[in-house]
Each structure stands twice: as structure tokens, then as C-alpha cells.
Subunit: 225 residues, 4 copies
DNA sequence: TATGAATGAGCCTTCATTCAT
DNA sequence: GATGAATGAAGGCTCATTCAT
């Protein structure tokens, strides 16, 4: 871009090279994420990551200091944007708590179901213990922030009388569990499962249980979907 | 040293030795379970397992053919008895489905919370992918059987009109997720957590949500606990 | 030894095994010394050391934590005994300083010429800079102690009027240089040399120069050798 | 950037560029010499040499075929001029052998003490064994020629009756040793030394010992310095 | 000419596994 | 049965070398 007025070929080549170099770290963490999720940190060889990313083993060390640094980058670069995107949802449905909760769960379900980021919960559960620093980071920057998000949604619903007066703090974890398990399941037992429940049906069941479980007895079911 | 006396205690010593010998495999799998759960399969060294069990590394090979065989034994010997015990509960509360469900969840919660077996879900999630054979075994002998158990309970409740007519197959997984997550949490992020929800309170919230979520609108809350 | 009264075969076997195990570190450092001297630290592969010692590469790690630890052991275990032996010479010839100096130089020459320890000066010169800790140790425990030894000898000679009143501190280093160079030469250019001066002849020349260079002009040459 | 102006300074820039280009190999070998001496050949990375020389790593390969070729150049380009300069001294003091020897030792001492070339002896000692070709070159072109030089000086002194009739061939090495050791010391243990003897004092002691050691008993001390 | 991203062979180190005692 | 010394294959990491720009 910057030297595009100078010489067509050179400019393009430089741009291509630069684009490639700038994209490299992302390609490497993507390959690493997939393999870490599939096999675990220790059982994944750097050769495999390199091969999947289409580079040589040495190239990994041009971008990351060590295998552990690569692990950290996989987590940090992968998950924070997702959380930030999630936080943007809160203000859109302030006046309809049930709709808000439904949207949050649905949006999160999409993220976990259809992007590679869905593997991160499994990865953190499996390997976090060996990386206390990353574990703490994940707890502070992902788990805690996600909890705050849902806390606001539930609190709003209870304040408006849409939800029963429940133990919000505890219910958050209960509510999140089914979707977390779905993401985990997808990367662990999904391969074994024969006639498994389809994700969409599982999501419906989850929303059904949660919304019925929270709803104030007198309230009518919200069927605007 | 202990049987260096040429007489007298020999009988007792033999008994002790035999008892010890027979208990060995269990001591070894117990040590292995703890370390596999804490660090993962690949990151756990046989030296560490041996040290924790109070034997030498070579001794492990007297009882298990390989590290992988030890892993299989850890899973198989640990979990099947638990499932079998669980299956015994079903007949005790046939006439009170809500009570039955509550007892099943509570019994399971006790198992996961207070025994080392609580680490097995995390372990299978983390490492199962690398051991297809064990994974299949776990799926067939633990997950499927557990699902059947809860299927019967929910079906009973729906048939009796105590529970709403829900998608039973899907609801089973939804219902089990919170307790599974509790067990997983205990072995992953528990160390990071500051003011976390106490397990008992978490269990209450889980039962609250599930039973309210399933209950037939007209039914009164069952408070016989 | 300790159980030799118990059973001949077992006792012998155990003794053999133990002797081997106890001798191992020495065998390993000997092999390492030879190769470090010949090729330098960095250019010596652990495989080569292991092969020369007749063990596998992994065995090295049963006795030394790292390649660097092996280097330290090579220096420390090899040189200190030699220094201590040297210090024993001082008292034997207190009354004849010229003889004392001659014996010290001769004894040292023998050590450097006919044992593998002769390679240590070259090794320290070549690699010490990369191991400050070892370098300091060598300086304190070898160089400084050796200097003290020769200082005493020269001081004695000057006090008795056998030697000229020279700058003792400086002369020590000058006097030691020829023998050090001999040891170094043997492990560096000796291979290239065609008609080189024989070590014995080189020693004679050294003693000739040093003793004539130090002798009080009036003194007669000491020819009691 | 520096020649971005389309006119005027082009001539000067070219000259600068050319001068720089011609000086490049020398800058590179200078950087390499310093690092090889400090860390050894194997432990010195080409990145470090390039950085010290202010060029990129790839540039090294524009001037030298390999790391080993760079090593050869370091030795060959560095030392031969020094020897040639030394050979010029011989004819200046033919009539005063003691003065000649003193001047040769002093000139050499200056070379070793105050220029980077002083590191070459250490470097050859440490690494020569791994480069037989360079070793042979150094032996033939440096050591042998230096010996011839000193041989002539001693022979002259003995012939004139200024020096005792010593074993000239052997004495050469003895005489050179102290100065060689000084150069070596400077690049190995100098960092550890606390109250070390100053180089000048060391040189004085060396000349003192050597000249007194060689002098014909009847001759008076030459004090014209 | 100069750069620096990319490569891949090689080495240190670990650890599951074996076996003599 | 139990031990622990020994093994050697495998993986993380380095760095000399190449080459497209």
C-alpha cells in the first residue's frame, strides 16, 4: 500500500510478503489450537503444528520463544476478542431479560459450536493446571468477565420480576454448564457417539430447561422466537 | 527386616505381605489417578507415580504392561463399580420421581465431590482422544449406562405427570452438565478461584433449576427433604 | 565386603556391581576430559563421551545433571587432588631452595606430561570464559594455590641468598609459563610439529634458564642431580 | 536514504560506499576475531558476529563461504602481516644481540598486549585442533617463522659470546612462553584476577629472567634502556 | 549489494521400558 | 517379588545456511 505508487510489481510483492509475514502468527496459533485441543499440549509435537501450518519447525521459533509461549498465545489471542464481542450484547436487550439471556446463550453457543474457539474450554480444563500463569489469566479475563455478563442479565430479570428470585451467583454457573459441556463434548466423546442428540436440539432443551426453571410462576412463556 | 524373626510372626507376616500384594494394584492405580488428573497423562512420569505409591519404578511393570495399560486400568477399575452402585438406586424411589431424581443427582454429587473418582470426567475429557479404545469403553460402560439410568427416571416422572413432557433424551445431558462441570471445575480452576460458590450451594442451585424447570406447572413444590 | 560372609556368589556380584557404580563417575569424567581437551566443550557431543566411556547417552544423566555440570565435575574432581599433592612437596626441601624449585617444576612437569590432567590448562583457557563459576573456582583453588606454593619457594631462596632479589610475585608467573606452555602445546600444535624439541630436552632448557636466571651471581651451579 | 538526492553528492556517496565495501571483509573478520576469542568458535553465533559488525547475517555469506572460511580468514589475514613486520626488526640490531632480543620481545609484547591480535594465540590453542588445515598453516607461517627469527637472534648472541652456549632450539620456546602466556592470560583469567601483576611489571620480570638466564657469566649487565 | 525470513540437520535432554541382581 | 541402573528413541530448541526480494 505505502509504496504502491512506485512500482507495480515490487509493491505487490512486498505487500504479499508482508501480508504473509503478518498473517503467520495467526496461522501458527490456529494450527496449534487445533492440535492442542485434539491431542493435548504434551502429546502435540511441534513438527505436527509446523506441518499443519505449512511451515518448517524452525519457523515456529521466529514467532514464539517456546512451546509454552505458543500455548499462551493460543489462549490469549484466541479468547479475549470473543469475550469482548460478548460484552457488546448486553445493552441491546436491556428491556427484555428473557430475550437477552436467550440471545447471550445462543450467541455463545454459535461461537462454541462453529468456530475453533470452541476447543478452548476443553484445552484450558485439560492443560490449565500445568500453566498457572495462563490459568490465572483465563480465570480473570474470561471466566470472571463472562460471569459478570450473565450476572447482569439475571439480575435484570429478577429486578423486573421476569425471573424468580434465585441465587444468582450460583445459578450463573449452573446455567453456563450445559453449553460448556456441549463444547467440551464436541472435542472429546463426539467421535464415539452413535445416535447422539443434535446440537440444535440440545440447545433447545437447554433453553427450555433454563428459561422454565427461572421463570416467575405467574409469567407466560415468551414465544417470540 | 519385618520377617527376620525366624518364627512366631511368620504367619502374620505372610498375611500382611499377601494383603499388601493384593492391594498393590489398587494403590498404584490410585496414585496414577491422582497424578493423571492433576497433570495429564503425558505430563505424568512413571517415576512420580511410583514415588507417590511408595514403590520403585520397575514395580509398576510387575502389575501393568505399559503406561497406557495403567491408564486403562485407572479408568476401568475406578468407574464401573460407581456406575453399578448408581444403578441400584433406581428401584428404591419408583413411586416418587422427583425424589428419585433428587437422590440420583445428590448421590452422584457426593461421589464426584468427595472421592478421587471425581477426577475421572476431567481425565477422560482431556486424554480420551488419545486412547480411542478407552474412550469407547468409557462411552459404552459409563456414559451410556448413566444416560439410561436418568432416562428411566425422567420417563417415569413424565409418565406420572410430575414432570412436563420434555425432550427426555436431550434433557438428560442438560441436567447432567452442571454436576459434571462441578467435578471438572474442582480439578481445573478451583485453585484460581477466590470467592467461589460453595459446592453445597451450587448443588442447591442446580436442583432448584432442574426441578423447577422440569415440574409440571400445576404441581406443587416437593419439600420433603 | 559387608555381606561377604553370607554367600560367596552374591557377595561378589554385589561388590562388582557396586564397584562399577562407584567407578562410573570417574570413568565418565575421564572420557569427558579427553574429548573436551581435544575438541572443546561445545564441539564435543554427549554421544561421543558416552561412546568413549562405553555407556549410553542416557547414562550420563544418571550421574550429572547437564553437560555443564559434567564440565564442572571434570575440572573440580580432576585438579584439586593434584594441587594438594603438590603442596606436600614444600616441606621436603626447605633447606635447599634450588633443589626445591627444581623438584616442584619437575613434579609438575611429570603431572602435565604424563597424565590426562595435562589437558586441563588448555581446557580452562579455551572454555573458562563461558563458565564464570568454574573459572573463578579454578582461579581460586588452582592458580592462586599454585602461586602461593612457588612464592614460598622463591622467597626462601632469596632469603637464603641462593637467588637474586627478584620481583617474586612477577617471577612466579614467568617461571610457570614455560611448563604451562608445554602442557598446552602437547594438546594443540603437537600434532603439526615435525622435528620438535623433545619434552625432556625442553624441561632441561627450562630449568637451565630459570635457575641461571635466578641464581645469585656469586653462587656456584648446583649439580647434584 | 543517503544518496536519495538526485545529484551533487553522488560522487562522494559512491566513494564512501566503495570504501565501505572494500573495508567490509576487514570489519567482519575483526568482529569475528573478537567474538571467537571471547567465546570460542563453536559458541559464537553468526548472528552475533553480524550484529557486532553492523550488518545482517546474510551479508557474511557475501564475503565468506562458511563459518569455517571466516575462521580461516580471521587467522590468515590477522597474523601474517604481524610476522612480516617482526622479520624486519632483525637487521636493525645485528651488532647488539641483547638489545635485539630485548627489542623483539618488547615489540611482540606490544603487539599482543595492545591489539586484538593478542587473542589469536588463545584462539589457535583452543580451536586449532578442529581445523587441521588452519592449524598447519599457523604452524608453518607463524610459529615456524617466529622461531627462525628468534633462532637467529640467539645464535648471534652466542656467536658473539654475549650469551651462554645454550640449547638454542629449546630455549626459543622457553623464552617465548612467558609472553605467550601473558597474551593468553589476558583473554582467559584476567577477569577473575584481583591484585594481578601489571603487564609492564610482568614484562620487566620476563626480560630480567631471560637476559640474566642467558648472559655469559663474565658479561656485565646491559643497562642502556 | 544487502536483507532477513525460512529451512532442516543436529544436539541436549527426558523418560518409558528392560533386565541383571 | 522388588529394585534401580541402564538404555535409546523421541522431542524441544538452536543455528549455519539458503534464497526470494
Amino acid at each position: 500500500m505505502e509504496d504502491s505508487h512506485h512500482s507495480g510489481a515490487t509493491g505487490h510483492a512486498k505487500t504479499t510478503a508482508r501480508r504473509r509475514k503478518e498473517a503467520r502468527p495467526g496461522e501458527l496459533t490456529a494450527a496449534a489450537l487445533a492440535l492442542f485441543v485434539e491431542r493435548g499440549f504434551a502429546a502435540t509435537r511441534l513438527d505436527d503444528i509446523a506441518e499443519r501450518a505449512g511451515v518448517s519447525k524452525g519457523t515456529l521459533y521466529l514467532y514464539f520463544d517456546s512451546k509454552e509461549a505458543l500455548f499462551k498465545a493460543v489462549i490469549q489471542e484466541g479468547i479475549v476478542p470473543a469475550i469482548e464481542a460478548g460484552e457488546a450484547l448486553l445493552n441491546a436487550f436491556r428491556d427484555d431479560p428473557e430475550r437477552l439471556l436467550r440471545e447471550m446463550l445462543f450467541g455463545w453457543w454459535q461461537l462454541l459450536s462453529s468456530t475453533p474457539l470452541g476447543g478452548i474450554p476443553k484445552l484450558m480444563i485439560a492443560e490449565g493446571g500445568n500453566f498457572p500463569e495462563v490459568n490465572q489469566f483465563y480465570f480473570d479475563e474470561v471466566i470472571t468477565r463472562a460471569h459478570r455478563l450473565f450476572y447482569a442479565a439475571l439480575e435484570l430479570g429478577v429486578a423486573k420480576g421476569v425471573f424468580r428470585p434465585v441465587d444468582i451467583e450460583a445459578q450463573i454457573q449452573v446455567i453456563l454448564a450445559p453449553l460448556l459441556m456441549l463444547a467440551i463434548w464436541k472435542h472429546s466423546f463426539a467421535c464415539c457417539a452413535g445416535g447422539e442428540v443434535a446440537p440444535q436440539r440440545y440447545l433447545d432443551a437447554t433453553l427450555d430447561l433454563i428459561l422454565n426453571g427461572l421463570r416467575q410462576p405467574g409469567q407466560k412463556e415468551n414465544t417470540d422466537e
